[in-house]
């Protein structure tokens, strides 16, 4: 996979590697400041290190603010995926629930646990939990994924997301490479036109 990409983007890679060397190690630290207060929005890379990461499709493992146990909620509480990820069957995003969803139960449930108290801390300050996205693609891959048709086609959530019922915080056990998507589309007879996903 990597080999193909390098071949296609040879000149880009050369420029980037040279820039990275020139820029030195400091640039690899990534974004240092907290608030994103730029007056402009642009698809430009925030830093050289970010450009390099994106080029290789590398995305750091997310650091979740709260050690959310999917396994407890699925196995013990017997919640279904779409009880919290409410948009999955209706639209492109599955959606990450905001703190109000959690608060529905946890205003009164398991309030003594440390992680729940962390959550209460956010809630009392009027803040949402800063969940970090686990899945997705770098913007340059221009992938538009839509959950709804996959659920309509009865693709099981675990096909792409792994057995989340066994996980605490979600991790990327399955790599969402293009090969992964295309293989399944081929098997199911779904379109593999480029613009099915890239637009």
């Amino acid at each position: 996979m990597l080999k193909v990409r390098v071949g296609r983007h040879k000149w880009k890679l050369g420029v980037l590697v040279a820039s990275a060397l020139l820029a030195g190690v400091w640039s690899l630290k990534g974004q240092a400041t907290r608030p994103d207060t730029n007056a402009i929005f642009s698809p430009a890379h925030g830093s050289i290190s970010e450009a390099i990461s994106h080029f290789f499709g590398y995305r750091p493992e997310p650091v979740q603010p709260i050690a959310f146990p999917h396994n407890v909620h699925v196995q013990d509480v017997e919640l279904a995926c779409m009880d919290c990820h409410i948009s999955a069957a209706r639209g492109p995003q599955a959606s990450i629930p905001d703190i109000r969803t959690c608060w529905n139960c946890h205003a009164t449930t398991a309030t003594d646990r440390a992680e729940i108290q962390k959550m209460k801390g956010y809630f009392d300050k009027g803040q949402d939990i800063p969940w970090q996205r686990v899945w997705g693609w770098v913007e340059e891959s221009h992938v538009r994924f839509n959950h709804a048709p996959h659920i309509l086609a009865k693709v099981d959530c675990a096909t792409c997301h792994g057995d989340v019922a066994q996980m605490t915080v979600a991790t990327r056990e399955i790599q969402h490479t293009m090969e992964f998507c295309v293989t399944c589309h081929k098997e199911k007879g779904a379109s593999n036109d480029c613009v099915t996903c890239h637009y």
Binding site: R34, P35, N38, I40, S42, G46, P60, I86, V138, E139
Partner: protein, 745 residues
């Protein structure tokens, strides 16, 4: 700030928000708890109303969740909220029929404009110099109450002024009621391109003081005198929808459309026949056509009824308007006049339209009455395929005794102490939009205290002492009663489609609050504007529709046309003899050209020049972006040695401006034209200091019956500025494949 610098800085400082959330929360803005139910990624459509021109199109707004940067309790963070994403026409709405013009669609940028005023501002420097200080709403309300309490305590309530764009619906009722209860005179209305002349003519001819509605879809012959009805005038979306049907909507019938005007407008470009005419003589041509119709016994003068009675000589066959005489006055050939007359009379239903420049002459009323009579003559008034008047649901009464801005300014300037002590300013920019002879800026400088509800710092808001920024229309309760554009009775209303982005408040609610908090309170019977709308629509709607249903539809409208076409009871006695010939400012020897400013396709009267989409929209005639220009006939240009893009000076008795030349075959050799809209001294980063303002060289001529500005009555001279580049160059997108120059694309 300079756009180019923005672009340069992006490589280094680009805010890649695309994967925000992937990584570490410690390096991100905090996120606030959402304040509304959200279904991420799923679009919902909510009705609203376009406020950008007088048409009153119903909207469908696409709303999706997004993360906005907001401030809560002094802390900056991200808030997930429903955001307007796209404006389309409301498919059920009787005006917009699911369509929306370019300007309306760009209206979404009003809400998200980077230079929007985000919270109340108090002036700190000398007036007009710029410095303002952000203050809280409490402080702002205290400021304005102090001033109003002071004039009330001195029994000077009549020194409260309210200057606004023409208001409709419940906003009009609210402001009128507030001013009346406070003891102040009615609001002063101001629009650059006012339609008061046509309203007055329609009152005289037909008994309706309003703009006409045309049934173009069923018309067989359309004769338009200068009206840019497909572009910028009256109800362009409703007209365009019907125009499409007039052209190709009926098997076997495709109507003929004739446009009479000295400069080809976007509408004129669509005509089957384009008839250039000397400026200000459109009414004379109309009477020439009527003369031929009488002469050929196609109709008798009495067929025009009282619309004909308005015209001197009508009932005796318009002896002074023989085609030969009319040719001399208008420049339209005798044979053509005769042919147009026969076509117009033979192809009923036929309709004649007048609007825009022909009414902006000193003989504006005459011109409008002449065309009205022509319509009455061929029986197109109130008939299928003709013109009618939109029946209005009863939403309150108009006030008498209004003062025009011109009179108001003169009054202020001639008194030692200003007759206006506190002035409210709403959605009007008269400093930009009035001729210098009105001395509006000077008059406003004499007003001790000015409060603006503006969302942007324009030339007039800049001299305000206090700015109480209004919500955008997408953040507000909105309502409207369209003046024209449909045969149905329509009252539109809509709830906010999104929460306010900034610390702004809706103007009607602020006015209600002010009333309540005054020392001598003006308590109106509504808690807030939403209540007011609810009450008004409860009184209006029939039993089958309830408030929720009305909100879901975006308004209430009758299912069938209900209105009478002509109101005989309100017709006044015959007018005095009207001047048929136009007067012009400037001697023809010194100022050889008629000067025709026109509402630009993108910016109308300039109020939309701050929207970047409209700045970069190529004008359909010139293909120009981010510029303005002076249109010159090729023969004239050759004689004066002027080439496309050359800097040209345009000089009237009242001032001089410069603009790049646009050589255009669609303009008479003795006319030069300029779009209005650019030339703002101050109007956000996108419009400030760009191009020149043609209004700033206009003469103070008016139409005498209404006092409306005769903005097409100025004469000018032009010359090429040697060795000078235009201050704002002509930037063209290249209008056609064959004239495209390969540059950097």
């Amino acid at each position: 700030m300079d756009r180019r610098n923005f672009i340069k800085t992006t490589a280094a400082a680009g805010a890649s928000a695309t994967l925000a959330g992937c990584g570490n929360p410690e390096t991100q803005l905090i996120r606030f708890i959402p304040e509304e139910p959200l279904f991420p990624g799923i679009a919902t459509w909510k009705p609203s109303i376009c406020p950008l021109c007088s048409a009153g199109c119903g909207l469908h707004v696409r709303v999706m969740d997004g993360e906005a940067e907001v401030v809560r309790n002094g802390e900056k963070g991200l808030l997930k909220m429903g955001l307007a994403k796209k404006l389309e026409g409301n498919p059920q709405h009787p005006i917009s029929h699911g369509k929306l013009c370019a300007r309306g669609q760009a209206g979404i940028q009003l809400t998200y404009h980077p230079d929007r005023i985000r919270q109340p501002l108090r002036r700190t420097g000398p007036r007009g110099s710029g410095p303002f200080q952000e203050i809280s709403w409490d402080d702002a309300m205290a400021d304005v109450l102090l001033r109003l309490n002071a004039i009330a305590a001195a029994d000077q309530q009549k020194t409260l002024g309210f200057l606004t764009r023409r208001l409709r619906g419940q906003r009009n009722v609210l402001i009128s009621t507030f001013l009346k209860e406070f003891g102040a005179p009615p609001a002063t209305l101001f629009e650059v391109f006012s339609d008061d002349v046509l309203r007055e003519a329609n009152r005289q001819s037909f008994g309706f003081e309003q703009l006409p509605t045309f049934d173009l879809a069923r018309s067989r012959y359309v004769l338009s005198f200068g009206a840019d009805f497909l572009g910028t005038w009256n109800s362009p979306v409703a007209h365009s929808v019907a125009y499409g049907e007039m052209r190709q909507g009926r098997p076997g019938v495709r109507a003929k459309f004739v446009q009479v005007e000295p400069r080809m407008s976007q509408t004129g470009a669509n005509a089957d026949e384009w008839v250039p005419v000397k400026p200000g003589t459109e009414g004379i041509l109309a009477l020439g056509i009527a003369h031929v119709i009488f002469k050929a016994n196609l109709r008798t003068p009495s067929a025009a009824g009282r619309a004909g009675d308005r015209i001197d000589g009508w009932n005796t066959g318009l002896q002074a308007y023989t085609p030969e005489a009319v040719e001399k006055r208008t420049g339209v050939a005798t044979a053509r006049i005769e042919r147009l007359a026969r076509e117009f009379a033979d192809n009923s239903p036929a309709v004649a339209i007048i609007g825009g420049a022909p009414l902006a002459h000193t003989n504006g009323i005459f011109q409008a009455l002449a065309v009205n009579a022509l319509n009455a003559l061929v029986g197109s008034v109130g008939e299928e395929g003709g013109l009618s008047f939109t029946p209005h649901p009863d939403t309150g009464t108009a006030q008498a005794g209004r003062r025009g801005l011109r009179e108001l300014a003169a009054e202020i300037l001639s008194s030692s102490s200003s007759p206006v002590q506190v002035l409210f300013l709403n959605d009007a920019n008269p400093v930009f939009g009035t001729p210098p002879a009105w001395r509006v800026a000077e008059a406003l400088a004499k007003v001790p205290y000015i409060v603006s509800f503006g969302s942007f710092l324009d030339e007039t808001s800049l001299i305000a002492d206090l700015i109480l920024p209004d919500h955008s229309f997408l953040e507000s309760w909105v309502d409207d009663v369209p003046e024209s554009g449909t045969a149905l009775s329509v009252a539109s209303v809509a709830a906010p489609v999104m929460r306010p982005l900034h610390q702004t408040r809706s103007m009607p609610d602020v006015v209600l609050d002010i009333g309540r908090q005054l020392q001598r309170p003006v308590v109106l019977p509504w808690n807030n504007y939403e209540d007011m709308l609810k009450a008004a629509f409860a009184a209006l709607a029939d039993k089958s529709s309830n408030w929720d249903k009305i909100l879901e539809n975006g308004g209430w409208w009758s299912t069938a046309s209900t209105g009478p076409s002509v109101n005989p009871a309100r017709v006044t006695p015959a007018a005095a003899t009207l001047q048929a010939d136009p007067q012009f400012d400037g001697r023809a020897e010194d100022y050889p050209f008629h000067f025709l400013p026109y509402a630009s396709q993108a910016f109308l009267d300039g109020s939309l020049a701050h929207l970047p989409w409209l700045q970069e929209l190529p004008d359909v005639i010139s293909t120009a972006m981010w510029s303005n220009w002076v249109e010159i006939n090729p023969v004239t240009a050759r004689d004066l040695g002027i080439a496309q893009g050359d800097a040209v000076e345009v000089r009237s008795v009242h001032g001089t401006i410069q603009a790049p030349a646009l050589i255009s075959p669609g303009i008479a050799p003795d006319v030069v034209a300029m779009p209005v809209g650019q030339g703002h001294a101050t109007y956000t980063r996108y419009a400030s200091g760009r191009g020149s303002n043609p209004v700033s060289i206009l003469a103070d001529l008016t139409e005498p019956v209404t006092g409306a500005l005769a903005w097409a009555a100025t004469r000018v001279g032009i010359r090429k500025l040697d060795n000078a580049a235009p201050t704002t160059p002509l930037i063209v997108f290249a209008g056609a494949l064959r004239e495209h120059e390969e540059r950097h694309r």
